[in-house]
């Protein structure tokens, strides 16, 4: 019989530390939650926010859609799908994470407070960007793992190459 081996999306590509920044993979369980019409659900976060939920984190991810990270499947009035294998999740930590994202993302990530969530772009990829206490968590569709790592490590290299040049950007 064939023995299948489970691999994470960025297996063998991460972690990577370049300059002051570290990019690592995380593999949360992910449930997409689309509340049914008229359902009143308690403790759901506002647009652009996240909230602790049943031992995990519930993040707003789009219009009428939430993602539950690291918690068991909830029993609520909503359309729920397990998407744990559908996303590549990475965390970006270290000094000047915002300066790095300024190269890749149209958002002003300096305005995000810990727990804030945004749908936006990383390069040309649609992404979920979560501000954490130390850095950012970034989620893109699983098939983009290699592209995400390539884009981000390229930008990290370029940023590190400039670290001895005086910075006047204020980021």
């Amino acid at each position: 019989m064939i023995e299948l081996v489970a691999k994470s999306p960025a297996e063998g590509l991460l972690p990577k530390t370049i300059g002051t920044l570290t990019l690592s993979e995380v593999t949360p369980t992910i449930h997409s939650i689309a509340p049914l019409k008229g359902a009143r659900l308690k403790d759901f976060p506002d647009v652009g926010k996240s909230a602790p939920y049943k031992g995990g984190t519930l993040i707003w991810s789009a219009r009428g859609q939430y993602m539950l990270l690291d918690a068991p499947t909830p029993k609520i009035k909503a359309a729920i799908t397990d998407q744990s294998d559908a996303w590549t999740s990475v965390t970006l930590t270290g000094d000047r994470a915002q300066a790095l994202l300024a190269r890749l993302c149209p958002l002003d990530t300096a305005k995000m407070a810990p727990g804030d969530v945004a749908r936006s772009l990383i390069g040309h990829m649609s992404a979920i960007i979560i501000r954490q206490d130390a850095g950012f968590q970034i989620m893109v569709f699983r098939a983009f793992a290699r592209t995400l790592v390539h884009e981000m490590t390229d930008a990290m290299t370029a940023l590190a190459a400039r670290q001895n040049i005086p910075d006047t950007s204020g980021l």
Binding site: V47, R63, P106, R119, S120, S126
Partner: protein, 86 residues
């Protein structure tokens, strides 16, 4: 160009995609052939204020009705299409 999405706040143009004139929200009655012809094919092309549908493709995926000026690039209003089409 920046668009102030009612859900996400002010975002860069590249997150949005143009989806056509807001005329698409006013579907004609069934059997109204002249109305359907206009709905599908007849469009104004104003140098001035126009109403379009946009999709916040790389953001919250809302459809938006945007009133803007094609001459000055001013954006006058941004509304969720679900609010307009109620």
């Amino acid at each position: 160009m920046r668009i102030n999405c009612p859900l996400c706040g002010e975002r860069d143009r590249r997150e949005f995609y143009y989806m056509g004139a807001a005329d698409y929200l006013d579907r004609p009655a069934e059997g109204d052939l002249d109305g359907i012809h206009k709905y599908l094919h007849i469009r104004e092309n104003p140098a001035g204020v126009t109403r379009d549908l946009w999709h916040h493709e790389a953001g919250c995926s809302s459809w938006l009705v945007i009133e803007r000026n094609t001459s000055t690039h001013e954006i006058h209003s941004v509304t969720l299409a679900s609010e307009v089409a109620k």
